[in-house]
Symmetry: C2
Subunit: 282 residues, 2 copies
């Protein structure tokens, strides 16, 4: 088997490292528009060597993990280049616009829209590790549009990683992600900004911030090159989620200003049910 | 040495367990208005037995770790009861109002306003553990108002835990905490609420939420009985911090709606400097 990774950062690099465990005979090639990342990926044994343009026609599997604002164009090109048996999987965080743009591609049946729910606040090949996806959720969109034989190959790969597969339409995917992922990132980024704005003397943040602050702003370390394109692609649902979040914060502020502590208490108590929900995630 | 813990939850329980390591000969007594917590604290070896009213006159050290809306009254009573050599330390999360209310107490010099920057989202004696405060920051307010001999006892205790001591006036403490702690909790609670409001079918939260969401809403599991009084006591500064946070979120939403992605990118990149700040915390 010949596998080509397009984009060798946290997600792409981890997916190749993970596949290497189960397909040790396979050849792993890669491309990345960042020359340093390409060299790092070779040094870190993520890929055997860089892929040339003519490698695509021989590939059995292409794993595309690149910022979502450029993935439509690049996936279109890759589908044009590959042979008729190659499976092309996109790993991006938004799905609606991408699936629409590839809907009438003649090789649509060789494409699979996937989104692994796994990641860290770090980026680049050095952040990649082989167990990132083990036992995590993998969302697959419009799987019925993918050729059955290629569906089998994809499921085989993800089942080897013991991933929990879920099937979903691209719009449902995007709206849910706006709430459970994209909004968390905005909340964290703006919390970080509010504290930096206030605390000119950074020493105060160092000393006074406990693990609670650290946990809440962890995502504010995320790479803007990844996240601005996600917010852009999922603008409609992100604006909806953000508006509701702001309304809830306004409600909290109003309850505090008017000293309606009973309502405040009741709101926080209801939110505590996240305990059980989150314990279910583990 | 005779130590009395008033409030035997996460903070009080952990402080007593921590002190037991360094003062194994000392006697540890305790009170808690929750009968079950009192029993648990005895079973968990946090205290040797419950403290009676007449134990206070023999105590050398009282550690008060109770919700901040009742601490003013109770600290006033405890100071009235203790002998002239006993040190009374409050561990609460707000300091301005408390220090004002005790300013003219005849035993003000036996009181120390402290705030350890450590905790978890859990509460009660079962959540307590002896190393919670090791190498964490301890903020002490108005230490110059505490008797020098009693200052020495307090510093000895906290230095044994290898805590980093910082001195601060009560108002500065409250304003900084509004930003680096209280705001994180509100952000997390309201994020949790926004997602619960949207996701009627909880299964979607289970499956789609990754570690990012989990980290960002961790604090939404916190106990409202602890946190509503903190928001109430620190209302002025919390409303200020929350207003600035909402403004930043509105700015983000506006930049997204008007597709001003350059500004969005620049905002997030500046916030990334939290990386270095947070790495400094560790």
């Amino acid at each position: 088997m010949k596998v080509i990774g397009v984009g060798l950062g946290l997600i792409g690099g981890s997916m190749l490292l993970s596949l290497r465990r189960f397909y040790p005979e396979a050849e792993f090639l890669g491309v990345d528009n960042n020359e340093n990342h390409l060299k790092e990926a070779i040094n870190l044994n993520i890929i055997d060597k860089s892929a040339q343009d003519n490698d695509f026609v021989q590939a059995d599997l292409a794993i595309v993990s690149i910022p979502v604002d450029i993935s439509e164009g690049i996936l279109n090109e890759i589908l044009n280049k590959v042979n008729g048996n190659c499976l092309v999987i996109d790993m991006g965080s938004t799905k609606r616009s991408l699936c629409e743009s590839l809907a009438i591609h003649p090789k649509r049946h060789q494409f699979l829209a996937a989104h692994p729910i796994a990641g860290t606040e770090f980026s680049g090949p050095k952040a990649a590790f082989s167990s990132l996806f083990d036992e995590k959720t993998m969302i697959l969109c419009e799987i019925e549009k993918t050729d059955p034989k290629l569906q089998t190959l994809a499921l085989e790969c993800f089942q080897k990683m013991k991933m929990n597969i879920r099937f979903m339409n691209p719009s449902a995917h995007d709206v849910h992600m706006a709430y459970v992922s994209h909004l968390s990132h905005i909340s964290s980024f703006m919390l970080g900004k509010s504290v930096i704005d206030k605390e000119d003397d950074e020493r105060n943040i160092f000393d006074l911030a406990g693990s609670g602050f650290e946990s809440t702003v962890r995502l504010a370390k995320s790479n803007p090159k990844t996240w601005v394109p996600i917010f852009k692609q999922n603008k409609t649902f992100v604006v909806e989620a953000l508006s509701k979040y702001i309304s809830n914060l306004e409600m909290f502020k109003n309850q505090l200003e008017t000293e309606d502590f009973d309502s405040l208490f009741s709101t926080l108590t209801k939110t505590n049910k996240l305990k059980e929900i989150l314990d279910g995630i583990k």
